[in-house]
């Protein structure tokens, strides 16, 4: 029997980026906010100081930075004809665990989606006619213009480095001319570029493209954010993605919010407690709180007026399923919405090898790169191409971590002395050009509960059913050709293309950009949450994170995840608190 605890105003399930943002916002109105995090407390000096931050073996290869698969993982299959098996070791994506969540180990590439990305269904159908069969793409129900002030807040919170491309409607030289209208420039100047970016810039300019610096959450200057938190200049050590930053140089909940939030008496945090269930009252229309369990197996019932799911996309979706909120999507019938429109990211690229030039990519940073956006979203005419969407193409120099970085030219043996020689010869003289492709929703790709495998508490694991779709493959083939054109012009000896071919493989690392499952939209008939991220079924339940994306755009999602969190927080503060109930009438 769960022990009942004194009630709080708001309980947050999970304490990463969105949890920290919501807690900081909602405590401003005097609400008593409790966050429950299943992992441990983490801060820069105690958990990833400079003396251990760059331990590649420990954090990445032994997976100490990520969710513990021995307690809970998910099962995977490419399609319904297969039997899903548990992922016992993370591969293609790396969910975080502990305070700060995945935001501790991200790269810091902080984008805004294009205005047309929010209208992916209506815009594309209007311009190109009906989509391929099976595609379940839909509009977000919120527009870029509505999110713009919230993007701006997050960029200022994080001290994003970049160059505006469209400032109040004026196209700015050196920025991304395709971006939506922004109300302010980035708070910090772009990162220092290295040899590889200069070559990329020259090559793309020759092709008539407009290169611009990638928007970066790695600090280019000492920065004090609007809350007074201090972020220090990046040292370009190249340990961002998969690592915590020991130098206070990467925006995370730890560096941007927690120093202030943790001093706020209205906020409290429980770590090493896992939420098992959102509790509903007898009508099923109201959440009464959550049930959570501590490390000793003691269960507690935490009553709250407002429950907000702030965990990772996969965990939020699964908690909805385990709590019996909404109907689980069934691809056989098309019925149900929870778990629908699982999407990912379609990555491809080309390595470029130089003979006479050092790229020295050990001087790197998670978001150190030059990009072009001509082939993203609907920035180009898709007529006759057979797909919608696209992606940015970039030359990022994120790292040369010695175990992970092994670029070898085409035709090199996979082992032995020739392989070793090739790794050594090219280690300092290579770079990569990558396409960051969108992932469009399809009826066959989805999440549900596994019928066989359970977690440490005996609850069914999440089951993922996913493969790249015909739209994904056509889009990626197109983007990869554009990558080839650029890579071939960068002046290297040779290139090695890595197209996205064959079925999706859940093992090689691609990106931790899992989206969908609790999608947002304009109607309860086709979405789990409304445009304010409020559950249609249970109005005192809100769901944050990339799970609300109806499909994924050709950008890294964190900027949009955070903008949506601020947008939802704003709606809760300005409207919901005064008059609790549905913010959109169904």
């Amino acid at each position: 029997m769960a022990r009942k605890l004194p009630p709080v105003d708001v309980v947050l399930v999970g304490f990463g980026w969105t949890g920290a943002i919501l807690a900081q916002e909602l405590t401003q109105d005097g609400l008593e906010v409790l966050a429950i995090e299943r992992g441990g407390w983490r801060d820069t000096p105690s958990h990833f100081p400079t003396t251990v931050a760059q331990d590649e073996l420990r954090w990445y290869w032994r997976k100490e930075m990520f969710q513990t698969t021995a307690r809970e993982t998910l099962t995977f299959r490419n399609n319904r004809s297969q039997t899903a098996l548990p992922m016992r070791r993370w591969g293609s994506f790396l969910p975080g665990e502990g305070v700060g969540g995945g935001g501790v180990h991200w790269n810091g590439q902080t984008w805004r989606f294009l205005p047309s990305d929010f209208l992916a269904a209506s815009h594309n159908v209007e311009r190109y006619g009906p989509m391929r069969p099976g595609m379940t793409v839909q509009d977000y129900g919120v527009t870029y213009e509505e999110l713009e002030p919230h993007y701006d807040r997050f960029e200022k919170l994080c001290g994003i480095a970049g160059r505006a491309g469209n400032l109040n409607g004026e196209i700015m030289e050196g920025g991304n001319p395709f971006e939506g209208v922004r109300s302010a420039d980035y708070p910090n100047p772009p990162m220092h570029m290295t040899f590889a970016q200069h070559r990329f810039e020259a090559a793309t300019k020759e092709l008539g493209l407009k290169p611009f610096p990638g928007p970066s959450a790695n600090m280019t200057k000492p920065y004090v954010n609007p809350l007074g938190c201090q972020l220090a200049p990046c040292t370009y050590c190249g340990f961002c993605e998969k690592y915590g930053c020991g130098n206070y140089s990467k925006a995370s909940a730890q560096t941007t919010i927690l120093p202030v939030l943790m001093r706020n008496p209205n906020f409290s945090l429980k770590v090493h407690n896992e939420v098992l269930q959102v509790k509903l009252d007898s009508t099923g229309r109201r959440a009464t709180g959550v049930v959570h369990v501590d490390q000793n197996g003691e269960e507690y019932e935490q009553p709250a007026d407002l429950v907000i799911l702030c965990a990772y996309q996969l965990s939020n979706t699964r908690l909805m399923m385990l709590s019996g909120i909404g109907e689980i999507y069934d691809p056989a019938t098309g019925e149900g919405l929870v778990g629908k429109n699982y999407c990912y990211q379609v990555m491809s690229g080309a390595d470029v090898f130089f003979d006479d030039a050092y790229t020295n990519e050990f001087v790197g940073a998670g978001a150190l790169g030059m990009c072009v956006d001509e082939y993203n979203g609907d920035n180009f005419d898709h007529s006759g191409l057979g797909f919608i969407g696209g992606g940015y193409i970039a030359c990022w120099t994120t790292h040369s971590r010695p175990i992970e970085r092994r670029r070898i030219p085409e035709g090199t043996p996979q082992w032995g002395s020739a392989w070793k020689k090739a790794v050594a010869d090219n280690f300092l003289k290579s770079t990569n050009v990558g396409a960051h492709g969108a992932s469009m929703a399809h009826a066959a790709n989805h999440l549900d509960l596994d019928p066989t495998y359970t977690d440490v508490y005996g609850r069914p694991l999440m089951r993922m059913t996913f493969d790249f779709t015909p739209n994904d493959r056509a889009m990626s083939a197109f983007l990869t050709e554009r990558v080839r054109e650029i890579a071939e012009r960068m002046g290297g000896r040779e290139i090695k293309l890595s197209p996205r071919e064959g079925p999706y493989d859940s093992m090689p690392y691609q990106t931790t950009h899992n989206t969908g499952g609790t999608i947002m939209g304009a109607s309860p008939a086709d979405s789990v949450v409304n445009r304010y991220l409020q559950s249609w079924d249970v109005p005192n339940l809100f769901v944050m994170g990339a799970g609300v994306f109806p499909q994924n755009a050709g950008y890294n999602p964190t900027g949009t995840v955070a903008a949506l969190a601020y947008w939802a927080a704003d709606a809760i503060r300005s409207r919901y608190i005064r008059s609790p109930g549905p913010l959109v009438q169904a």
Binding site: P45, P222, R263
Partner: protein, 414 residues
């Protein structure tokens, strides 16, 4: 929706209404209590009279002195374990004369020689303010002192030798700001408690006033601000900024000074911080002898260790990132004749005090598990002799000695 927000004013009102003594309720008008609250801030009473992580002013914090550990008493008004049964005169006598109501002598770890400079009204105001605080029942642990020091009668001799109650006398030849600064520094602020070297009996060496001291294995720097002083290169603004925010262009506060800033100086009005700066800038220092020349091989080793382990934050030329990562070039701590703090910071790291102005506790990690005594000595020697710094070399045995003394607090290897 319920809200859970308590304002300080509401708490104060509640405390006043709960007071059982009508006579005091009449006397203790708000301005008097507010005066007491501020006076208490200027004396940083909370720092010593609070055990880490426990109720404020309930005492129980152990102060490590060369003579043993002295535990601070509970100064809330709990009648059994605190000051609840003390009269105002009892309190004034403790503050001005170092004598408890039962006639026993207080250890001078309680800096009553400084507090004797405070006017009676100021001391009464502190008493009235303390009376409004929540009462906490908490016994004081027994001091850990060897005989005869454990015998309080021995303190009579100390008082005879080293104590003379001295009400503060303004210097008519100096500005009001200077006099206010002198009062704060020498009176309630009791800066000399840390920043002045002690004699064998634990009393201040007057000839070394504010030229730096050592306590609890920290070397407190020279804070005299005139020519040759430790703060000669700090402007008045630098001093004000440091005391207000815990950071300035030269340094960041950590360890014991972080408590002073956290509980005391960041809450003081700017005029008072300015006054402290005016006074300190008027205190001349003493010219220092040239440092001994470091061994070239050790300097080469120290430079290599520095570039691998330190330069990412402190920058290759020791410039640091002002207000983020402390500059080492010109640092008072680095240049201190006593290298204890430099060695200690390398061994166990340092956490810049989070303040209202700078809430981020920027922290340097510990290197005790990563660098040997000889390596720490080399890098400390390098830092103390580079970029215009003038500190003497550090030896491996200096590091070994401090490592041994700190062993318990250093924590596990990573």
């Amino acid at each position: 929706m319920r809200t859970a927000r308590h304002s300080a004013a509401a708490a104060l009102t509640a405390a006043l209404m709960a007071d059982p003594l009508p006579a005091r309720a009449q006397e203790t008008v708000y301005s008097q209590i507010e005066r007491g609250r501020y006076a208490l801030i200027t004396g940083n009473c909370q720092g010593c009279h609070t055990a880490p992580g426990e109720e404020p002013f309930a005492g129980g914090r152990g102060l490590d002195t060369p003579f043993g550990t002295i535990y601070t008493p509970n100064i809330t008004f709990d009648p059994e374990t605190g000051l609840g049964r003390w009269s105002r005169d009892d309190f004034r006598r403790a503050m001005h004369e170092g004598v408890a109501p039962d006639g026993s002598r207080l250890y001078p770890a309680f800096p009553y020689p400084h507090f004797s400079k405070m006017p009676r009204e100021e001391v009464d105001a502190i008493y009235d303010y303390l009376a409004t605080l929540p009462r906490v029942k908490k016994e004081k642990p027994e001091n850990e002192l060897p005989w005869p020091l454990s015998w309080r009668f021995s303190l009579a001799g100390w008082r005879l030798l080293f104590f003379e109650p001295q009400p503060f006398e303004p210097d008519p030849g100096k500005s009001d700001a200077w006099n206010r600064g002198a009062y704060l520094v020498e009176g309630p602020g009791h800066c000399a408690g840390c920043h002045t070297e002690k004699n064998l009996a634990g009393a201040d060496k007057e000839s070394r006033h504010l030229m730096g001291g050592q306590l609890e294995d920290w070397a407190a720097p020279d804070i005299r601000g005139g020519p040759n002083g430790g703060l000669a290169h700090w402007s008045e603004d630098d001093i004000v900024e440091f005391l207000k925010t815990g950071r300035n262009a030269h340094t960041a506060a950590f360890s014991i000074m972080s408590e002073v800033i956290d509980y005391s100086t960041q809450h003081m009005v700017d005029e008072d911080l300015r006054a402290i700066a005016v006074y300190l800038k008027d205190l001349e220092g003493e010219e220092r002898a040239a440092p001994a020349a470091p061994d070239e091989e050790i300097m080469r080793a120290g430079a290599a260790i520095y570039f691998d382990n330190c330069s990412a934050c402190h920058v290759s030329d020791g410039a640091g990132v002002p207000r983020f990562f402390a500059p080492l070039a010109g640092s008072g701590k680095v240049n201190n004749e006593d290298a204890t703090t430099v060695i200690r910071v390398i061994l166990e790291g340092a956490r810049a005090v989070p303040t209202n102005a700078h809430p981020t506790p920027l922290t340097m990690p510990a290197f005790h598990w990563k660098l040997s005594d000889a390596q720490i000595a080399a890098v400390a020697t390098y830092v103390r002799a580079s970029w215009g710094n003038r500190g003497d070399p550090v030896s491996a045995s200096d590091v070994a000695g401090l490592r041994k003394r700190l062993a318990e607090g250093l924590g596990p290897d990573r």
